[in-house]
Amino acid sequence: MTKDKALEELFLAKKPHFDDHDAFMTNLTKRLDAVEYIRQHQEATIRRYKMAMIAAFVVGIISGAVTMAFILSTPADVPLFEFQVQTGFLLWLAEYSRPIAATALALVMTLGMMSIINNVQDIVRMRRKNAFIPKFSL
């Protein structure tokens, strides 16, 4: 495809010139400072959030493991808890208190871990979303 001479000359003749170069760059520098400040603040918040998640994860695992060990180390013939009222269902609960407590604890730990993993994935997504990277290839 060849260029149209008349149009090319028109565009060339009407090429704009800018005399506010310094003002434009000063304005840009101010914006970049503001962006930099926000970015640093955001990164610090994300870092803190991530650390809190990791701490919660570790504390949850340790306390869960300790509680689980305590439950499993108690004598098998002694129930973990007893009820004052003696009904069929409550007697059954007291009889199987160890496996019930262990299962409930495992369930809570699993849900907690899933929630923490989800939160960490959200943080990673937030970081990626902040980076606007257009692909370019010629």
């Binding site: 495809m1 260029k3 149209d4 008349a6 149009l7 090319e8 028109l10 565009f11 009407k14 090429k15 704009p16 010139h17 800018f18 170069h21 434009f24 760059m25 304005n27 840009l28 520098t29 914006r31 970049l32 962006v35 930099e36 970015r39 902040n130 980076a131 606007f132 990277i133 257009p134 370019f136 290839s137 010629l138």
Partner: protein
Amino acid sequence: MTREVFIAHVEHEQEALRSFLLALCCGNKSNADDLAQDALVKAYLSSAGYQDKGRFRSWLFKIAYNTFLNHKASSRTMETLDDARTLVSTTAADDSFEHQDLYLALRTLPPKERSSITLYYLSGYNIKEISAITETSEDAVKKQLSRGRDKLKEILKL
């Protein structure tokens, strides 16, 4: 890319970028400069992912083009008001008065045709490069250029 290197590149390319956006905004300088600033901030934020292959200007133009299209899409309801402003500005003796006929003619083109024409005639890119910047096929760029050129020649009576 460090901030200093980025600013050094921008110092070199800002006039070309602003000319491109001024043509896309049909002579509305404040709008063009706002878009240029937005595009440069976006470029700065993604400059960590930029691999220097000597194509900084093309990379910048691509971001500017997308910024312009996003702005155009979000401000569609203001088009009528903009039209009214342009009619008033033809009588004003501002700095860009001498370019008004070209800008008014460019205004009649759809944004994609306007972008292709501007990149081709003002910025000097070839069809392959325009296709990469605008993320359209080379055939589509050729069609946009052909249609845009015919319309401009008719309006400007060239």
